[in-house]
């Protein structure tokens, strides 16, 4: 466990486009998945003998299945608008981390086998055979893309490198060269119900501990229910919320919000994971399996609403794909969006004045907000364009007196990935993660130096874990990253005399009787 040897990038006053250093990140490759993890997901256990043909066929299948993929491969005009937009390029200086160069690793093979000019005059059109070297480059550089889509915002054609990188990973899985981190986790989620491999008794024990803690802190019994049939809300949240810090403080925040608003809710031990790693490897089938667990849990528990906790990629899958993967959700209450984000729930309750908040509880902090890439660029919140930017900020401003935004190029649709998204949050890629965080660290340092920012809030489990890990490399403290609902949790004033849920039901019953009488 010796510390990996690499230099932490320098933080400048403003972004500087670095000089190119060819192949400096070629060595960066994640561990390859073992046969047991591969086969569980329906992929070959190791590199198949005729891998080249299998890969070419798979590429053909994918370009026909996803029209967008072929359009992205055909339409690049090499204008260069994307070149300095990737955080991995900015942090590593490797030219193959320029989005266009990353796409070209895939595009050159596509041209060779699927375009006339590439078949006839490969050298003239930048077409290349799929060799072992090319496959190695794929394995390196398609695991240096966090699928954050920042480059696609600046591309005049809207080419989405994330989709190309998902397709490349799907091809690599098909030939038996999958990534250990993602594929082991997908297998766990499919058997145990979450990415951690947290079985039901451990989940229940952890949540009981939280009930005790919150009661000790506040004197109020705030519940953390599991598998409660007939609850109004099924909360689907990343399993990191049960396990890691500061994630768990966010979970406490959700519970307090539901408590104060009198909304009955439950977690599910069967669908105890929001983060859908099937998306990272481009696998529709694996993505669907996790989505169907959520549907099944909602049916079994008889809930009326599904709410997602703080998890960036989960919200992309939920907001953009859930209905296609596992719908229709016509058995849920149509008065609420399906699914709903926890931030939407809290925001609405704040608007309605249903939360008793004391923002001075957060006066020890000056807070900034990190827009998580998949929430910012692949989804929305609320019913207005840009709601995914405004709603989290509105919540923070309602619970904190001191809020400052980072520079405009580094937030909202231009936000930088934390450096650990898209299935790269693994220790074997720590050099990439530290270097890829450079643009975000630079923007953060900017507001720390100029405005005295002390904490950064986020709504994604990956972002939170990534920042706790990489902050010390940049001389920040690991506890300077906080969950958004942790801030809510600090500010929410729970009155010990609050009627508990049971009493409230009694009260309603009495009213009903009174009315009847």
């Amino acid at each position: 466990m010796a510390a990996a040897e690499f230099d932490t990038p320098v933080l400048n006053e403003y972004p500087v486009i670095p000089r190119l250093e060819k192949d400096v990140m070629k060595h960066s490759q994640p561990f390859v998945a073992k046969a047991e993890f591969q086969e569980k997901l329906g992929f070959p256990g190791e590199l198949v003998d005729d891998w080249q043909q299998v890969a070419i066929d798979k590429m053909g299948e994918l370009k026909d299945k996803y029209r967008s993929l072929q359009v992205f491969l055909d339409s690049c005009v090499k204008c260069g608008a994307c070149t300095d937009k990737c955080h991995y390029y900015l942090g590593t200086t490797d030219p193959k981390n320029m989005p266009v160069a990353r796409q070209d690793l895939f595009r050159k093979v596509y041209r060779r086998y699927y375009t006339l000019s590439g078949k006839l005059f490969p050298k003239l059109v930048g077409a290349e055979d799929l060799t072992k070297e090319v496959l190695d480059d794929w394995y390196s550089y398609f695991h240096q893309c966090s699928q954050c889509r920042r480059c696609s915002v600046y591309c005049p054609y809207g080419i989405d490198t994330a989709e190309i990188s998902m397709a490349a990973r799907e091809v690599m899985d098909a030939v038996g060269k999958g990534q250990k981190y993602c594929n082991e986790i997908i297998g766990k989620a499919q058997t145990i119900g979450n990415n951690l491999g947290l079985p039901e008794p451990a989940l229940v024990d952890t949540l009981e501990g939280l009930e005790e803690d919150v009661e000790e802190d506040t004197g109020v019994k705030v519940r953390f229910p599991v598998d409660e049939k007939g609850a109004e809300v099924l909360l689907i949240t990343p399993s990191a919320d049960f396990f890691a810090e500061p994630h768990i403080d966010g979970l406490i925040g959700y519970a307090k919000v539901f408590h104060q608003a009198g909304i009955s809710w439950t977690l599910s031990s069967y669908a105890s994971e929001a983060a859908n790693f099937g998306m990272f490897i481009g696998s529709y089938e694996n993505m669907q399996k996790l989505a169907l667990r959520i549907r099944q849990a909602a049916i079994d528990l008889g809930v009326k609403r599904i709410v997602f906790g703080e998890c960036g990629h989960a919200w992309r899958v939920a907001y953009s794909f859930l209905n296609t993967l596992a719908g229709p959700f016509d058995f849920l209450d149509a008065n609420y969006p399906v699914p709903q984000h926890m931030c939407e729930v809290t925001y609405q309750l704040i608007q309605e004045g249903k939360l008793n908040l004391d923002p001075s509880e957060n006066d020890d902090m000056v807070v900034t907000y990190h827009d998580s890439c998949n929430v910012a660029r692949a989804s929305r919140m609320g019913d207005m364009p840009g709601g995914q930017f405004e709603i989290p900020r509105a919540i923070i401003k309602a619970v904190c007196n001191n809020y400052v935004d980072m520079p405009s190029y580094a937030i909202k649709e231009g936000t930088y990935c934390c450096g650990g998204g898209g299935g790269l949050l693994t220790d074997d890629l720590i050099e990439l993660r530290v270097k890829g965080a450079q643009p975000r660290m630079e923007a953060l340092k900017n507001v720390v130096d100029d405005y005295g920012v002390t904490h950064m809030a986020a709504i994604c489990a990956i972002c939170k874990s990534q920042f706790s890990k990489v902050f010390p490399y940049y001389d920040f403290r690991m506890d300077q990253i906080v969950s958004l609902h942790q801030l809510v949790s600090n500010a929410i004033v729970l009155e010990p005399e609050n009627v508990s849920e049971g009493d409230e039901e009694d009260a309603t019953d009495n009213e009903d009787q009174a009315e009847a009488a």
Binding site: M1, N195, L196, P201, D205, D213, E245
Partner: protein, 110 residues
């Protein structure tokens, strides 16, 4: 890369976690710590033993909060926080301590 202790060889994964939970014995934890340039004190052992007990009951490492609470009860309230655990295990209590305790590495967005 197998771990060699007392002339015996124990299988580990790419990151040095024990492949078989049942292989574990205190000497292996000592050997892993030595390889990391660390020495295990009684307080390290409190954490390692708690992890093993918890794993035996729940088949998973405890959440960081569960761990800090348990350690706070055993070693005093001033030590029941993740700052103290990071002092003991600078690579992270969940990961480094799990490794020494012979537990699988926690996975997911952690």
């Amino acid at each position: 890369m197998p771990l060699e202790v007392n002339g015996q060889s124990y299988e580990t994964d790419e990151e040095g976690y024990l492949a078989n939970l049942n292989d574990w014995q205190p000497e292996l934890a000592e050997a892993m710590a030595t390889a990391d340039g660390a020495e295990l004190s009684d307080n390290h052992w409190e954490v390692i033993n708690f992890l093993r007990e918890y794993y035996e009951e729940y088949q998973i490492a405890p959440a960081v909060r569960v761990l800090t609470k348990a350690i706070g009860k055993k070693l005093g309230k001033d030590k029941g926080n993740s700052k103290y655990l990071y002092e003991l295990f600078p690579y992270g209590p969940a990961k480094q301590a799990c490794k020494y305790a012979g537990l699988p590495k926690p996975t997911g967005c952690v």
